[in-house]
């Protein structure tokens, strides 16, 4: 079958004034991709547009942030490791008849795990991440970027799109719905950095007056292979087929104790891995903190107000994964107690966690490093302090802490969790009164079956 390349460009169905924003626009973007005899390259799908941040209500140039100048009260940052992806709260991919292929809630939190584990600082600075995702990898550079409009063209990291090419005729077209995250989730001032890491210089109050963001000129585009007339006719006539794809499901938990047990009924038959990240619940939707942080549990730095913030790491102990009550896939807890006490990197935890996202034997680039892992102040650290600070040339000293495990990296066909709940036990020295949000994502395989034009999804 001869095919030619085409770039399909689609504007939002609910374009309205052309401005998408939580505060001063429409917080949902919907794209309708028609049913057509073309083959979509899902990996090439991009959501493009122009991203703007403002320090005050009103989308005026006078209300722009002044991060670079360091003007008090005008610092508005977005997360430097996920960029514009931090503004996507959930994504739904369905067909034009309403059958849902994938829904990812807390998509931004998923990105805060998988992007830094797949890209190094070099990728962020010089590898296209700063151009496509609007993610510079470093806070100060991200601040500079946020001072003015910048263009983005983000891929969507959904399993459905990242797998095999998609026959748009057979899937009966697609409807992508993107729900934007709240302004206080996406935008933040520099309070945490300045007060916690540079405690003597902080006067940050930016965002108190209503920092917000907006997207405009939004468009979806993707590569399509267009067959010749004969091929198109064959595609139109074909009503049967099936294919496997990977999808993420998301769960939410709140950790309040030093021995947290969660039982999740994920009810999927081919689960490949699970990945989790956590953040103090008080940081979420709070313009003083980065809601995209993926750090280990935190406690107060012990400083008197107003410099009192959660920035000291709580000592983590063991993480245990179970399936139907039995420890699986590891028959031992992932222990960090000793490494955390010694103030060194949690090698075992990092190894297992990375394996959940990618095959560690092909690992070559990631944000993780000693600078990110050992930079938080850790009360029980033998030094009692962070080991690295933010660096000009190296990574920011902000931790990248995930928890996760791969259930099946060999056959890639996954393990059944139908009727067998996933158990997660996290032991730490977390004290009460500091709840942490735990975002859990499972990657599993789905199968779509097309039978005489009827679509069914088996998971």
């Amino acid at each position: 079958m001869n095919t030619t390349r085409e770039l399909v460009q689609i504007q939002p169905t609910n374009l309205g004034t052309g401005v998408f924003s939580f505060k001063e626009g429409v917080p949902q973007i919907q794209f309708d991709i028609p049913m057509m005899p073309k083959i979509m390259n899902g990996k090439s799908l991009r959501i493009s547009g122009t991203f703007s941040t403002f320090a005050e209500p009103g989308n005026l140039d006078a209300n722009r942030p002044a991060n670079r100048a360091g003007t008090a009260g005008r610092d508005v940052y977005i997360d430097s490791r996920t960029g514009v992806s931090s503004a996507i709260d959930f994504i739904s991919i369905a067909n034009q008849e309403g059958a849902t292929y994938e829904v990812i809630k807390n998509y931004n939190r998923l990105c805060s795990s998988i992007m830094p584990l797949n890209d190094s600082l070099e990728d962020y600075i010089a590898g296209g991440q700063s151009m496509e995702y609007g993610a510079c990898g470093k806070n100060t550079q991200q601040g500079r970027l946020c001072d003015a409009d910048f263009d983005f063209s983000i891929p969507l990291l959904c399993g459905f799109l990242r797998g095999n090419p998609i026959d748009l005729q057979l899937v009966k077209g697609l409807r992508l719905t993107i729900q934007l995250a709240a302004d206080n989730y996406v935008c933040r001032n520099n309070y945490w950095n300045k007060r916690a890491e540079f405690p003597h210089t902080g006067t940050s109050t930016g965002g108190d007056l209503g920092a917000h963001y907006q997207m405009k000129n939004v468009m979806l585009s993707f590569d399509a292979e267009v067959p010749d007339a004969e091929g198109q006719q064959a595609m139109v006539q074909n009503t049967n087929g099936n294919w496997d794809y990977e999808a993420y499901s998301s769960f939410y938990n709140v950790v309040q104790s030093s021995d947290h047990n969660a039982i999740l009924n994920i009810s999927k038959s081919r689960v490949i891995s699970t990945i989790m990240n956590s953040i103090p619940s008080s940081f979420l939707n709070n313009h003083r903190y980065n809601s995209q942080l993926a750090v280990q549990f935190l406690q107060s730095n012990g400083v008197a107000p107003p410099n009192n913030v959660l920035s000291t790491a709580v000592k983590m102990k063991d993480i245990t994964f179970t399936r139907g009550g039995l420890r699986q896939p590891l028959d031992f807890p992932i222990s960090q107690e000793k490494t955390q006490a010694e103030g060194v990197a949690d090698s075992q935890k990092n190894f297992v966690e990375l394996n959940a996202i990618r095959n560690v034997w092909s690992l070559s680039n990631e944000v993780k490093g000693l600078r990110t892992e050992l930079s938080l102040r850790r009360a029980n650290n033998t030094l009692g302090n962070s080991k690295f600070n933010t660096s000009m040339n190296g990574n920011d000293g902000v931790q990248q802490y995930n928890m996760g495990v791969c259930f099946d990296a060999i056959t890639d066909n996954g393990v059944s969790f139908k009727g067998e709940p996933l158990g997660i036990r996290i032991q730490s020295e977390l004290t009460s009164g500091v709840p942490h949000s735990l975002f859990v994502f499972t990657k599993h395989k789905n199968t779509i079956i097309f039978n005489n034009g009827q679509v069914s999804v088996i998971n």
Binding site: L7, I125, A126, M131, Q141, M219, E225, M392, N393
Partner: protein, 473 residues
């Protein structure tokens, strides 16, 4: 005539299907003729030429008078920082039996584009060592001391032993061109970079009865073309011409032998119709764009690309200001406009994009699709969006005496992929391809004349049989 038989993997750079006995011979191949304009190398008729064979090249630069006057001295000048030693070569072509089967014009410009695909790690560990240049950008600080993290990028700074005076970085000494052939550095250029046809193809020299030769034409030796001056010598740089060190000009030719397989390959080539080789040929085309006006104004240009009958895989467009050399980069750049311009291509009277591309990130993304690999370019090096002249995201720390802010928006290469998912090019009709580019020019952009240079990747095929090489397409 085509045989319909593709290359066996002994003649490709792939992994072998099975273990095979192999022998490697490396010869130093000097040119049969050479001067400061051109050199011709003729390969021996033996073995299989490994495409990773390298051209060894060196250049000297005469002593120059400092701008401040005084005795002539070594200027500490170096190769263009984004191009390296590829800037010493203007044009290169491969001839078989007296016929030119592959040509690359504007070697330095094309190499600059290809170099954007390499990671910082590869540039630092391999490219800068073998080919020179300095294009690793990472987080940097302002020129103030103590260092201020003001969100800029630049060449690597020394953050631990910086003193008040040490806010400058410079090309390392071992990369600086000197006036003596004994001390000037020599470089190593892979043949597959000089002749893109050789990417993935090993020439079976033993089975080709005709003369196989490589012709290398050198660049002018002028500042900006072949080298760039450090600050303090800029005013007198026009007096200097770099010279190729001819005794150091040779090819380190690797000849591969597969004792158990050569006979089969020879048999296939001589008795069974031979092999077809599909390869990429890079064509270049230039279009002059005169100044848009005396004051800030809109512009709208349409350039025609005559590609009738060719199978085109991609088109890359580069825009240079004909009168401007950038410090440290020379003439090897593609300048972005302050307000992102839009473009579209019309192919067979139909616009390729249903909506003109005006989003810098989407333009970047489309350009990355050409090789299915991301360009390793920081946002501020690709686009000028979000910055202003003096405060543009690059550090004000200097490199070779020049403020690095001149790198802003200096690698705005934009391209379109026309090949399908299988890598098959698009057959062009006799109607010319139209490249329409429009937008606004401000801040002095409007008074400059531009050259739009197109690198067009065409799919071609040759057949190697009976010891002869025939062009099929």
């Amino acid at each position: 005539m085509s045989s319909g038989v593709g290359l066996p993997n002994l003649l490709r750079t792939d992994v072998m299907d099975r273990p095979v006995n192999q022998r490697l011979e490396t010869d130093i191949l000097y040119p049969v003729s050479s001067n400061q304009q051109v050199a011709k190398f003729v390969f021996d008729r033996k073995g299989i030429l490994d495409s990773n064979s390298c051209l060894n090249i060196a250049a000297t630069l005469p002593l120059l008078e400092p701008d401040a006057g005084g005795a002539f001295t070594d200027s500490g000048s170096s190769l263009p920082s984004s191009t390296g030693a590829m800037a010493l070569v203007k044009r290169c072509f491969l001839e078989i039996g007296g016929r030119r089967v592959a040509t690359l014009d504007e070697v330095g410009q094309y190499a600059t584009w290809k170099r954007l695909h390499f990671s910082n790690e590869y540039r630092e560990g391999v490219l800068q060592v073998k080919q020179g240049g300095s294009d690793v950008f990472t987080g940097s600080a302002s020129s103030a001391y103590p260092p201020v993290q003001d969100g800029t990028i630049g060449r690597r700074s020394n953050e631990t032993i910086q003193t008040a005076a040490a806010n400058a970085t410079a090309t390392p000494k071992h990369q600086r061109l000197t006036a003596s052939a004994n001390t000037t550095p020599s470089w190593c250029l892979p043949l597959s970079s000089l002749i893109p046809m050789l990417k993935g193809f090993q020439i079976p020299l033993f089975a080709i009865a005709q003369e196989v030769c490589l012709v290398v034409e050198f660049n002018s030796g002028k500042v900006g073309d072949s080298w760039v001056a450090t600050q303090g010598w800029g005013a007198n740089a026009g007096d200097g011409r770099s010279s190729i060190v001819l005794p150091q000009l040779y090819i380190m030719a690797d000849y591969l032998y597969y004792p158990d397989e050569m006979e089969n390959i020879a048999d296939a080539i001589t008795n069974q119709g031979g092999y077809d080789l599909l390869y990429d040929e890079i064509q270049t085309q230039n279009a002059f764009q005169s100044a848009a006006g005396a004051t800030a104004t809109g512009f709208n240009i349409t350039n025609q690309l005559a590609l009738g009958g060719k199978k085109v895989k991609s088109i890359v467009c580069q825009r240079t200001d004909v009168a401007t050399q950038l410090s440290n980069i020379g003439n090897y750049y593609s300048v972005a406009l302050a307000s992102t311009d839009k473009y579209n291509y019309t192919i067979d009277s139909k616009p390729f994009y249903s909506v003109d591309l005006g989003n810098a990130a989407l333009q970047f993304s489309e350009t990355c699709r050409i090789d299915d690999a991301p360009l390793r370019v920081p946002q501020v090096r690709y686009s000028k969006k979000g910055g202003t002249g003096a405060i543009n995201g690059f550090t004000r720390r200097t490199f070779n005496g020049y403020n690095q802010t001149s790198e802003w928006g200096s690698q705005n290469w934009r391209g379109i992929r026309l090949s399908n998912a299988a890598g098959e090019g698009l057959r062009m009709s006799n109607l010319p391809v139209l490249h329409n580019n429009f937008g606004d020019m401000t801040g002095g952009e409007e008074i400059a004349n531009y050259n739009n240079r197109y690198f067009i990747t065409c799919q071609r095929m040759i057949n190697i049989s009976n010891g002869l090489v025939n062009m099929i397409e």
